[in-house]
């Protein structure tokens, strides 16, 4: 423990990241560049999220880490352990007891509350990246609010598949200004971004960008008038807790076509089972 500064990063770095975070919160949806550090894990494993979490943690915090909704997958376990060792903070799996939640690919089913911070791990922060490869050009497009191209992508989806086939990292518009990549959460979770009471912070380590949504920010998923946004969900119920409203994972159980649906949010599911739902 004493070999590390609190939460691994040195104070100078944390200050630098906090400055970026303050700017990001002040300009919702704007991608703030920051000097991302080497972390003791590979890029793509949440280095951005870890740096943001490290800079927001205080010793009194209670941390929850999820990966695809689960508290017990490799990434979640190792990041939680990392902060147990380097920060000595209390950790939890209960979404409503946590003060800071670091997440990859999901927003907990349990509604977030005022005072909580949720940190998203982001692989590619630029929603226009695959449409316009030049960073100079995409920045200009953001600054001038030229977002017609984003709809070209949705148009292509409908032309090819008959519906908007983007199912994760579904682009959103923050208030009336920036178009933002919500990180690869399923579009099922997009409505939870809108007007959330929690502070939402997004960290992209490899791409060196931080952006944020302050509490109660209006967030709208892009769509067409005649093809409105649809937060789709698998038609089924959880085999363990019987939930019909949560986001489901489909699990293949044998080689003869056996399969079942399970809640992707393990904390939500386990508690429903415990309560005898």
């Amino acid at each position: 423990m004493s070999a590390y500064n609190f939460a691994y990063l040195d104070e100078q770095t944390k200050r630098m990241i906090r400055r970026a975070l303050l700017k990001a919160v002040a300009i919702p949806g704007y991608q703030v560049p920051f000097a991302s550090r080497e972390m003791p894990m590979p890029y793509g494993w949440g280095t951005g999220g870890v740096q943001v979490t490290a800079s927001t943690l205080v010793p009194e915090d209670r941390l929850k880490v999820i990966d695809q909704g689960a508290d017990d997958t490799t990434n979640a376990v190792s990041i939680r352990r990392f902060f147990e060792v380097t920060a000595g903070v209390e950790t939890t799996t209960e979404a409503d007891r946590a003060t800071v939640i670091q997440t990859r690919h999901r927003i907990p089913e349990t509604p977030l509350q005022e005072g909580q911070i949720i940190v998203y791990q982001v692989p590619i922060p630029e929603p226009l990246r695959f449409l316009e490869p030049r960073e100079t050009e995409t920045r200009k497009m953001h600054s001038l609010g030229e977002y017609g191209l984003m709809h070209v992508k949705l148009y292509e989806d409908i032309a090819r598949h008959g519906e908007i086939a983007t199912t994760y990292a579904y682009p959103v518009r923050v208030g009336k200004s920036y178009v933002m990549d919500p990180s690869p959460i399923p579009k099922f979770d997009n409505p939870k971004l809108n007007g959330s009471p929690a502070i939402q912070l997004f960290g992209a380590g490899r791409e060196q960008r931080i952006y944020a949504l302050p509490p109660w920010t209006p967030v709208k998923s892009l769509d067409f008038e005649d093809y409105p946004f649809d937060p789709s969900r698998a038609a089924g119920q959880c085999a363990l807790c019987g939930s019909t409203s949560s986001y489901l994972d489909e699990v293949i159980t044998d080689d003869s076509g056996g399969r079942m649906f399970l809640c992707s949010d393990t904390d939500y599911c386990a508690r429903r089972v415990q309560e005898g739902a």
Binding site: Y155, A159, E225
Partner: protein
């Protein structure tokens, strides 16, 4: 009548060398102007300066905009300039790859400008895309194909549809028929002539092909070494060239 475009003193240098020097002209609504000259004469430099893709070292370009009134394209804010470029101006590149999104379907290519100016109704966008494909003679069942699956002539016609869908008032064209074989060229020219007439477009066409300007342009500028050496009505200049270089240019056309 006020000119739709008034260029004065357009100068662009590349270091020591001159791209184009002190060029000025008026273009009136509904008029098509050709710029001819050999490679390196500065015609593309001039066109790129006019279209806002290069910044001239000196000069002014007054454009009579329907939305913003008469404005100098060189001193407009970038946002206004890009808005104009999506609505009232259009640029047809010589190589369709420069003007199209090759990984987006034909319908998406035509719809992009519409979505760029705020269209958010899929069925309407698609309907307009279909009607434009029909006008440029691309079969309706190719709407979901990518331009990379099109022939050169179809790509060029798609590029024209993509540019004209928002009803621009002034179109810049850089060698629109370059690299196409003659029968395809002829149909493309026919199409362009029809569209210019119907829509009352003004256009500036850069080409080294004198047959193209004779068909399309009302007036021409002949350029050499970055200077305009002769200007006037197309037939007048081509049938009775005054400057020695223009005479050479006219005399150099191969007779089929």
């Amino acid at each position: 009548m006020n000119p739709i475009l008034r260029a004065t003193g357009i100068t662009r240098r590349y270091g020591e060398r001159i791209g184009c020097a002190d060029i000025g002209f008026d273009l009136y609504p509904g008029e098509v102007m050709g710029i001819v000259g050999e490679s390196g004469s500065g015609k593309s430099t001039l066109l790129n300066c006019l279209a806002g893709q290069l910044t001239p070292d000196a000069g002014s370009i007054l454009f009579d905009s329907a939305q913003q009134g008469v404005c100098d394209l060189l001193t407009l804010s970038e946002m206004q300039r890009r808005t104009l470029a999506r609505t009232e101006l259009a640029f047809v590149h010589q190589n369709p790859r420069d003007g199209l999104r090759m990984s987006v379907s034909a319908g998406g290519n035509v719809g992009e400008r519409l979505m760029g100016v705020g269209a958010r109704h899929y069925a309407n966008i698609r309907e307009q895309a279909l009607s434009w494909l029909e006008r440029v003679e691309i079969p309706a069942d190719r709407i979901d194909d990518r331009p990379s699956q099109f022939s050169g002539g179809m790509q060029q016609r798609l590029q024209i549809a993509r540019n004209l869908v928002t009803g621009p008032r002034l179109v810049f064209m850089d060698e629109p028929t370059g690299g196409l074989d003659v029968s395809v060229q002829a149909r493309l020219l026919d199409l362009l002539r029809g569209l210019v007439r119907q829509m009352g477009l003004s256009a500036i066409v850069v080409t080294h092909d004198l047959a193209v300007v004779r068909l399309l342009a009302d007036r021409i500028l002949v350029m050499k070494d970055g200077q305009v050496i002769e200007a006037g009505l197309t037939d007048q200049v081509l049938d009775d060239p005054h400057h020695a270089y223009t005479q050479l240019l006219v005399a150099s056309v191969l007779q089929a």
